[in-house]
């Protein structure tokens, strides 16, 4: 029986070469770490005592799978006292009649080694994940320092990874038993260090905590599995773990708020649609719509009008001051412009179904005057079910959207009148949907020439629509 010291993979490997060459069976050797207290066998620790090579004339060549040596290198980092003899015994068995031993993963020796390797791999993986650098400014430049507490002696195993990852950064990783420093050229290993020797904070940590707190979804808490993946031994070096208690304490409130605020947009015109789809039913139901706040200040709902078998539908934006009082679409100044354009094309208004994207007048009071104000997206969305119901009823061959609000509601949010005017598009509502100027835009135009131009353009778009509908045939 002989005792050999092995504290690193390299030492073990050298020793094992000699042992194998001398045919020393696993039962004939005891391995020990250097840091183990000297044992009875220590006296025999010199190579003289090893049996001489059995037959120096025909040296035995052993073929050891590379994968085994790579695994052994990792297992060497483990702290279990039986690792060296397991490794040697496995080596012996592989070279003495069981060359495919490693495939038998349920063999006691192999299984134990696999478990040890797994533990080291996991520890190395956690080191790659949980090392947290803190930046230190010094006259020589920036330096990134981390303190980490691995379970095993894995600094040499993982340091090359950090060198590949942070090649142009000066960094140091301290652990209780060893340390490593990268100077932009090479890795230098040194002794262990206490946590107090590392810098105590970093300017980025608050920002990181902000991120951590925000990316967490309070509706799905599961702590147990979290600690399984992020063992509490590492928590002291992870800045974000500081705020976990706060996040947990605040979670019920955040969830309650998420659910409560869900009601924020609960109502829309959809809640007021009638059972049957007829013009009278729709019109009557719309009169009582409270799908958004606009009904509160407006006089009445201004619903669409015109023959439901028209084939051509015009959609404007929203009733104005006069429409609100009269209760019919396009009766004010904008209506006059529309009529003018229609006259140029030679179609009368009563052949067309005319309506608006939003059915209630929205305004700001300025003294006694009610000034039109644009509907916001929520109002347009809330009101959309009415227009959709009208389209379903009318089944138009052509829809003309007057202005951007209607065009975005019906054609799509990317619609720009200046860019996409006059081109019929297929939408899910209708084969031919055309976007064009809103008559009010023409009214607001300060230049008379431009106003005339726009009016002609509106007329030309209406002419196209009429042709596509088959009007005038």
């Amino acid at each position: 029986m002989q005792f050999v010291k092995a504290s690193t993979f390299e030492e073990w490997r050298t020793v094992c070469r000699g042992l194998l060459a001398r045919h020393v069976p696993p039962s004939g050797v005891v391995f020990g770490d250097t840091d183990r207290s000297p044992s009875l066998f220590d006296a025999t620790d010199d190579s003289e005592a090893l049996p001489p090579p059995a037959d120096s004339k025909s040296p035995v060549v052993f073929r050891i799978p590379k994968s085994f040596l790579q695994a052994a290198e990792r297992i060497a980092c483990h702290t279990a006292p039986d690792r060296w003899e397991r490794l040697y015994r496995t080596l012996w068995r592989m070279t003495h009649g069981e060359p495919r031993l490693l495939e038998v993963t349920t063999d006691d020796d192999v299984h134990r080694l696999v478990m040890m390797e797994k533990a080291v791999r996991r520890d190395a993986h956690k080191m790659k994940a949980f090392v947290r650098f803190r930046k230190v400014e010094s006259p020589e430049g920036e330096h990134f320092v981390a303190w980490h507490r691995p379970e095993f002696r894995i600094v040499r195993l993982t340091a090359p990874f950090f060198a590949r990852r942070f090649p142009s950064m000066c960094w140091t990783i301290l652990t209780p038993s060893e340390s490593v420093h990268w100077d932009l050229q090479q890795l230098n290993y040194g002794p262990g260090a206490a946590a107090s020797e590392a810098p105590q904070g970093d300017e980025l940590e608050d920002l990181w905590k902000t991120y951590y707190g925000s990316i967490f979804n309070p509706a799905r808490i599961k702590l147990k599995m979290m600690t399984q993946e992020m063992p509490t031994r590492h928590w002291p070096t992870l800045p974000e773990t500081d705020i976990i208690p706060d996040l947990l304490a605040d979670a019920p409130r955040r969830v309650a708020e998420m659910i409560a605020r869900q009601e924020g947009f609960a109502t829309s015109a959809a809640d007021f649609l009638p059972q049957t789809l007829t013009f009278d039913a729709l019109r009557a139901a719309a009169a009582g719509c409270k799908g958004c706040d606009l009904h509160e200040h407006a006089t009445q709902t201004v619903f669409g009008e015109g023959p439901v078998d028209s084939g051509l539908m015009l959609i404007g934006e929203q009733p104005g001051d006069q429409e609100d009082l009269v209760g019919r679409p396009f009766v004010g100044p904008a209506g006059k412009i529309l009529d003018e354009a229609l006259a140029k094309v030679g179609i009368s208004r009563d052949r067309i179904y005319v309506t608006n994207s939003v059915k209630h007048f929205k305004y700001n009071l300025s003294g006694k005057r009610r000034l039109h104000s644009n509907p916001d997206v929520r109002e347009v969305t809330a009101c959309k079910p009415w227009v959709e119901a009208e389209i379903e009823l009318v089944q138009p061959q052509v829809i003309v959207c007057l202005g951007a609000t209607a065009a975005r509601q019906i054609i799509g949010p990317e619609f720009r009148v200046t860019k996409h005017r006059a081109v019929p598009q297929k939408t899910r509502h209708c084969e031919n949907t055309i976007g064009t100027w809103h008559p009010s835009a023409i009214l607001r135009q300060p230049s008379q020439t431009r106003r005339n131009e726009m009016l002609l353009e509106l007329a030309s778009d209406l002419r196209l629509a009429a042709q596509l509908t088959g009007f005038g045939e």
Partner: protein
């Protein structure tokens, strides 16, 4: 942060501190990203040459875990949560009154670099609300990725969420800088999309995926032919589907997933249980997310990809949903008892893969071990199979459950656990390991 500070990295003198403004934006734009299930940073094989900071080596690393059990691997943020679209399931839709913010290119670049230098993250996962137009939005996102790669020689992971409707050229550009591209299918069927996100059109989404696949294939062929070609999305493409926002059953969800795997070579389909979002439309369910269902979908997805199962086989229930009581493999086994018991010492690989409780890794080991000796129960236990489940379905050298037990109508009862609320973590873990 002003634009001049990023000209060289790290800056020589000037101390970079993030402004209060960035902190506020981060809060809003990370919060808005928390509903996205995809998080992995794996799949890129080699680190980009000439990188000054960052590497991608095989398996991704989770740098932290949040109390919801999810892994933090990437800086997952939105470029902006302004959006011109009005998708009903989405907190960023135009009609929601959520607080809005927009990062500048430099702010995202700086955050990524600085977080990376501390080893907080593996890289960046950037998505965005759609502003102005799909092209404009994609351009801005590409600019972030390009700045990271060229100005800072950043070699870490970049995942860009492509904008459906963006031009092919912009997608091509995105693939140059990103490790992974994803286009979210969002909802499992075209009908669901029509209902809740009419502005996102199914053909546009499929077209974007097809374009990306085409580019990836092209890259591979050219590389094989020996040409030196720039990388194109080396970690492939993935997608996300929201589950439970519409009544679409699991079978259709899995069929969509299968066709994405087969036709578009997707690396991953992520399933995200619809969770209540602030200001949600009243049409959507206001309950807590269907996490068990999400978990079952991940398990079933794994069976599709690695176990040779077909969606139709897995979903046999009348309502065309996966069973919530037991995992899909066990459900299949219980419905096909004539197939069992399977002899671990004789059965071919495909049959071993169908045994409940035995994962693909264990199957590979069993095939090797049995060349040396006949497996016994102790072997299986050492392989860490889920013996309680497996016991009823296997024959080993020293164990035969007998047909009587298998015929027992109450067999299923033994496996049904007390119902408990699952969290995404379980789903995430099983998505990673898939051992079912």
């Amino acid at each position: 942060m002003d634009g001049t500070t990023t000209d060289e990295w790290p800056p020589k003198k000037k101390q970079l501190t993030m402004s209060q403004d960035v902190q506020t934006k981060l809060k809003i734009l990370a919060d808005a990203a928390k509903y996205d299930a995809s998080c992995a940073s794996s799949g890129s094989k080699g680190t980009r040459q000439g990188s000054k900071l960052g590497s991608t080596e095989g398996m991704g690393i989770c740098h932290s875990y949040t109390p919801d059990g999810r892994c933090v691997s990437l800086l997952k943020i939105l470029m902006t949560n302004y959006c011109i679209y009005d998708c009903q399931y989405c907190v960023n839709r135009v009609s929601s009154d959520t607080p809005r913010a927009r990062f500048t290119t430099d702010e995202i670049v700086d955050l990524t670099i600085q977080f990376y230098q501390r080893n907080y993250i593996e890289g960046l996962f950037l998505s965005s609300g759609i502003i102005q137009s799909p092209d404009y939005t994609m351009e801005q996102m590409n600019l972030v990725a390009m700045t990271l790669r060229t100005k800072h020689r950043f070699g870490g992971y970049i995942h860009l969420k492509s904008i459906p409707g963006a031009s092919d050229d912009l997608l091509a550009d995105a693939g140059r800088w990103a490790d992974r591209l994803s286009v979210n299918v969002e909802l499992p069927t075209a009908g669901d999309l029509q209902q809740l996100a009419p502005e996102k059109k199914e053909p546009e989404i499929t077209h974007a995926m097809g374009t990306i696949k085409g580019r990836i294939d092209e890259f591979k062929t050219e590389k094989k032919a020996g040409f030196k070609v720039p990388k194109f999305a080396p970690a492939g493409q993935s997608t996300q589907m929201i589950v439970g926002a519409t009544p679409t059953p699991d079978l259709e969800i899995l069929q969509t997933a299968s066709s994405l795997y087969n036709n578009h070579d997707l690396r991953r389909v992520y399933y995200s249980a619809y969770s209540p979002i602030p200001h949600a439309d009243a049409r959507l369910p206001g309950k807590s997310p269907p996490l068990v269902r999400e978990h079952r979908l991940y398990q079933a997805d794994w069976l599709l990809r690695f176990y040779g199962f077909d969606a139709n086989e897995l979903v046999a229930e009348a309502d065309r949903n996966l069973s919530l009581d037991v995992d899909p493999k066990l459900a299949w086994a219980l419905a096909h008892r004539e197939y069992f018991p399977v002899d671990v010492n004789l059965a071919p690989r495909e049959e071993l893969l169908r045994i409940p409780g035995i994962g693909a890794k264990s199957v590979a080991r069993i095939l090797k071990i049995r060349q040396h000796h006949a497996l016994q129960v102790a072997d299986l236990k050492k392989l860490r199979v889920a013996w309680k489940r497996t016991a009823h379905f296997v024959v080993t050298a020293d164990h035969n459950p007998g047909l009587k037990k298998l015929d027992d109508l109450h067999l299923k009862q033994q496996f049904v656990q007390q119902p408990r609320q699952l969290t995404l973590f379980d789903a995430h873990a099983s998505a990673k390991s898939g051992e079912v």
